[in-house]
Structure formats: structure tokens, C-alpha cells
């Protein structure tokens, strides 16, 4: 066999590869220039300022402001995830167990808020929750309270609005995983004498866990980086990590510190995706968005 003669099929394959790479390159260039390069820039800026320095990271890990913000962000994200799961599971379960027409209606109601801007919904929650807002007026009218409750410009308002925005990201993967659970299994459980609650907890719930994991990951990760809602509804007291980044850039011109916070946040998010991808495929997590 001689190898000097070019194999026509090999040549064809090389052309094919070249064409495919050419097709994908415009999109890839945009991503490289506007995500990979900027994130790389942030990473560089966080460790380099007229020479290498870990000063920014030292600040992030030792100064109180940063610690408190990271802790608060973690707590809020955890709370939001748990609440979203508790609210989302029944809805997904119901959508999965009713006739098709009804489940389409339920799912449409779930994704309806998806199509309204996050800003619009922040505005709506301000209108609902503020001191002179709809809820306070209603409660006063019904004589439940005499003084308006502080429902917004605090952590409570932030959580209410954030759960609202992230709930669809919980319900959709839950529903998708429930759809894959064969109905026969439940009937088998029932025919063997198990009570409905026993079949639910021993058969249905474990089988829906991939959806639980996918939904919780998405909600938790999105919440970690949330910006608009805490900024508008948190009243300046609920300083989440994203606000720390923006304040360091906009108010204090602390680019190095902002970059270090961003890098820590990003590493946290990537670590979560890494761990989760050992249990379920990431397509399952991202596919919903």
C-alpha cells in the first residue's frame, strides 16, 4: 500500500470538515469574543494589577461585606429553590395526571409569565407589595391589619418576586421527568395493595428525582446570579453577589475586586454544574430554558 497517493474519499472528508467548521465559525466567533474573552479578561484583571497580586481575593474572602453578601446570596438561593420545589411539584404533578387538554392549559399558565419581561414583573410586584399597594390595601379593607405591612424593599419582597420568576424553570423539568414515569408502575403498586400515598412515596417520587435535580439546579444557579429583582425589590439592604459586582464597577471603580467576586461566583456555578452532570445529563438542565 502506498500512502503518497491522496485518497479521494479522504480529500472529500477534509473538505466536508472544512465546510462544517466554516459554518459554525461565525457563531463561535461571537461567543469567543463576547463571553470567553470577557470572562478571561475578568479572571486576568482579578489577579493582575501592575504585577500579580492576590489582594482582591484576600479582600473577598476576609472582608465582612463580601462574606455577608455571599452568605445572603446562598441563603436566598436555597430558600428560593426549596419554595419553588414545594410550589412547583404539585403543579407539575397535577399537569401530569389530568387529561391532555387540562395539562396544556396548566402548562400554558406556567409559561405565560415567561413571556413577560423580568422588569415588567418586578414592576408588578412593586405595585402589589408596596405600602400603598394592592395587597396592603386589601388587607386593610378587610380589617386584617391596621398598619401597612413592609412587604417589599426587603428580603421578603425579593424572595416572593424571585420565586415567581424562577418557578417555570422548576415546573417544566419536573413535568418532563414525570411524563417518563409509566402509569403501569403506579397501577402495579396499587394492585399489589399499596395505598396511593405509599405508591407515591416509594415509586413515583423516586422516579421523578431526575426532574427535581434538574429543576433545583437551574433555579439555584439562576438565582445565584440574579440582579434585577434584588436591586429593585431589595431596597438596598438585600445586597446579593451580583449587586456587589455592579456596585464595585459603577460606584467604586474597584475593577479588580468586582472581577474577583465575578470569578468566585462563576467558579461556584461551574462547580455546581460539574457535580450535577455526574448524575444527570446537562442537556436536561439547560434544555428547558
Amino acid at each position: 500500500m502506498t500512502t503518497s497517493v491522496p485518497d479521494p474519499s479522504q480529500k472529500h472528508q477534509r473538505r466536508e470538515h472544512g465546510l462544517m467548521l466554516a459554518l459554525v465559525s461565525p457563531a463561535l466567533l461571537v461567543i469567543l469574543a463576547l463571553i470567553v474573552l470577557p470572562v478571561g479578561w475578568l479572571a486576568w484583571q482579578s489577579i493582575y494589577n501592575d504585577g500579580f497580586t492576590l489582594e482582591n481575593y484576600r479582600r473577598v474572602f476576609t472582608e465582612d461585606v463580601y462574606w455577608r453578601s455571599f452568605a445572603l446570596t446562598f441563603e436566598i438561593s436555597l430558600a428560593v429553590t426549596v419554595i419553588a420545589l414545594l410550589l412547583g411539584y404539585p403543579v407539575a404533578y397535577l399537569a401530569n395526571s389530568v387529561p391532555r387538554g387540562w395539562s396544556i392549559l396548566i402548562l400554558s399558565l406556567v409559561v405565560l409569565p415567561f413571556w413577560t419581561s423580568v422588569l415588567v414583573r418586578a414592576y408588578a410586584w412593586l405595585a402589589l407589595l408596596q405600602r400603598t399597594g394592592v395587597i396592603n390595601q386589601l388587607l386593610r379593607y378587610l380589617d386584617v391589619i391596621s398598619e401597612p405591612l413592609a412587604l417589599v424593599h426587603n428580603t421578603f419582597g425579593t424572595v416572593v418576586a424571585t420565586v415567581h420568576i424562577l418557578l417555570p424553570f422548576m415546573v417544566l423539568p419536573l413535568y418532563a421527568s414525570m411524563q417518563k414515569i409509566p402509569n403501569d408502575l403506579m397501577q402495579a403498586g396499587a394492585s399489589l395493595g399499596a395505598s396511593p400515598s405509599l405508591t407515591f412515596f416509594r415509586v413515583f417520587l423516586p422516579l421523578s428525582l431526575p426532574g427535581v435535580l434538574a429543576g433545583c439546579t437551574m433555579v439555584f444557579v439562576l438565582c445565584l446570579g440574579f440582579y434585577i429583582t434584588p436591586e429593585l425589590l431589595g431596597g438596598g439592604r438585600t445586597v446579593m453577589v451580583s449587586m456587589l459586582v455592579s456596585r464595585n464597577v459603577e460606584l467604586y471603580n474597584q475593577f479588580g475586586a468586582a472581577s474577583a467576586v465575578a470569578v468566585v461566583l462563576l467558579l461556584g456555578v461551574l462547580a455546581i454544574f460539574c457535580v450535577v452532570s455526574r448524575f444527570i445529563s446537562l442537556d436536561r438542565v439547560l434544555g428547558q430554558k
Binding site: 470538515h17 465546510l19 462544517m20 459554518l23 459554525v24 461565525p26 463561535l28 461571537v30 461567543i31 469574543a33 463576547l34 463571553i35 474573552l37 470577557p38 470572562v39 479578561w41 475578568l42 484583571q45 410550589l87 412547583g88 404539585p90 403543579v91 404533578y93 397535577l94 399558565l109 406556567v110 405565560l112 409569565p113 413571556w115 413577560t116 419581561s117 423580568v118 422588569l119 415588567v120 414583573r121 414592576y123 408588578a124 410586584w125 412593586l126 405595585a127 394592592v134 390595601q137 415567581h164 418557578l167 444557579v221 446570579g225 440582579y227 429593585l232 451580583s242 459586582v245 455592579s246 464597577v249 475593577f255 468586582a258 472581577s259 465575578a262 461566583l265 462563576l266 456555578v269 439547560l286
Partner: protein, 261 residues
């Protein structure tokens, strides 16, 4: 089949409450926008179009609306062909690196948007793209790409590439066979991807907060700044219009999808 056990009733009640919680904020905006009151009172004292008037007669809001619509349109025009080409290559090519490229194209969904925003701000500041139209469009193209790629890849999954082979063996070149055979069959997923990209560009706020300025501020940036200061019902009017616009887009896209598939 389903008896009304207590557990079942509880399920209905909880689900209904959750759905109300999901829907109320979307529904509350429209009545506020048609209210004559300066401050929020519910129910509104009387019907009025003054907030819409205020919106349409304010040059700053109008300029911002023009910026938003231009950016969203240009985003679709650029992100859709880029995304379709990339999705086609990813689904057809056997190159190993395509898996990696596929993941790279989904990065805008993985990296927290605030990090993207700050990073782009630093890069733009170096190359002079801050507060420019091209800078704004480019950022939105990047953010819209994953939606086009995901949607078109899903469309291509149910497409048999052998059909394109047949067209080519009958003498069509690759480009023509793509436009004549492949594209018509994945049209609805291309349209859906484009609509997602449009809505994403229309709603995008965080990146715009950092990189837009001067006369090239989109609607969302102005709304955000206005919301930080006070609750102005003009924003309810704008919100109602924006919500109506994205609903109509989604309905149009899904009606299309139903007809063609």
C-alpha cells in the same frame, strides 16, 4: 378514575393557588396602566389613557423604543443565520470538536448574566464600543444565539439528512439543496428560534445597563432607571405594550408551528 380524596382536593387547591400567584402579576399591570390615578389605587378610580399619552409624547421614551426595536430586529437578522448555520454543522458533522463547540454556544445560558455584562463592559471600554449601536447589537446576538441553536437542533433531529443527499445526487449543489429541501422542513423551528432571539433582545436589561448610554439606551435601561427612583404608571403602560407584543409574537410563532407541523 380519580376520586376526590382529601389528598386530591389539597392538590387541586394548592395548584390553583400557585397558578394564581403566577398569573396575578401579569394581569395586574393592564388595569394600572389604564387608571387615571397618579398613585396606585386598586380598583382604579376611572379609566384614562393619560399614561399611554405620556409615553407616546415623551421623546426620550420614543427614542428608547426605536433603539429597542432596531436592536431586536438586527439581532434576529444576524443571530438567526449564524445560529442555523451552526446548528446545521453541529448536527451533520462527525468532527469530535463539534461537541465542544456545541457546549460553547450554550455558554450564554450557563454563565451568570451579570458576569457577562461586566466582562463585556471591560472589553468594550478598551475597543470603544460602549454606548454604541453595534456594541449593543453584538451583545444581543451573543445572548440570542443559544435559543436559535437549541430550537434549530431540535428541528433537525426529526429531519432525515438522507433527503438532502438525494437532492444532491440529483445534481443540486449543497447550498441549493439546503434551501430547497432542508430549510422548508425545519422552517418552524427556525422561526421559533428567531422569535426567542427577538424577545430575548427586547427584554435584555442587565448587559444594556452596563454597555449602553447616551442616545443608544434601550427601553429596558430607561425603565430600570425610572423604577429605581419612583413608581411611575407610564411604566405600566409601556409594560402592557411590551407584554402584548411578546404574547402576539409567541402566538404567531406557535400558530405557525401548528400549521406546518
Amino acid at each position: 378514575m380519580m376520586r376526590a380524596t382529601p389528598a386530591r382536593i389539597a392538590l387541586y387547591v394548592i395548584s390553583a393557588l400557585v397558578l394564581v400567584y403566577l398569573i396575578i402579576p401579569v394581569l395586574i399591570i393592564a388595569p394600572i396602566s389604564f387608571s387615571s390615578a397618579r398613585f396606585l389605587t386598586f380598583p382604579p378610580p376611572s379609566f384614562s389613557l393619560r399614561w399611554y399619552q405620556q409615553y407616546f409624547s415623551n421623546p426620550a421614551w420614543m427614542q428608547a423604543t426605536r433603539v429597542t426595536l432596531t436592536v431586536a430586529l438586527l439581532t434576529v437578522v444576524i443571530a438567526t443565520p449564524f445560529g442555523v448555520a451552526a446548528a446545521y454543522a453541529i448536527s451533520q458533522s462527525k468532527l469530535r470538536i463539534m461537541r465542544l463547540i456545541h457546549m460553547a454556544l450554550l455558554l450564554p445560558l450557563v454563565v451568570p448574566i451579570i458576569i457577562i455584562a461586566v466582562g463585556i463592559f471591560f472589553v468594550y471600554a478598551k475597543v470603544g464600543l460602549v454606548a454604541t449601536m453595534p456594541g449593543l447589537v453584538l451583545a444581543n446576538v451573543m445572548l440570542g444565539l443559544p435559543y436559535v441553536v437549541i430550537s434549530v437542533l431540535a428541528g433537525l433531529q426529526s429531519f432525515d439528512p438522507a433527503q438532502e443527499m438525494v437532492a444532491r445526487s440529483l445534481g443540486m449543489n449543497r447550498l441549493r439543496s439546503f434551501f430547497a429541501v432542508t430549510l422548508p422542513q425545519i422552517k418552524s423551528s427556525v422561526v421559533a428560534g428567531g422569535v426567542f432571539a427577538f424577545i430575548s433582545a427586547m427584554d435584555e436589561t442587565i448587559v444594556a445597563l452596563f454597555i449602553s448610554g447616551g442616545q443608544y439606551q434601550p427601553l429596558t435601561k430607561r425603565m430600570f432607571t425610572a423604577l429605581r427612583d419612583e413608581i411611575d404608571p407610564t411604566i405600566a403602560a409601556i409594560s402592557t405594550l411590551m407584554t402584548a407584543a411578546s404574547f402576539m409574537l409567541v402566538l404567531a410563532a406557535s400558530a405557525r408551528q401548528k400549521r406546518s407541523g
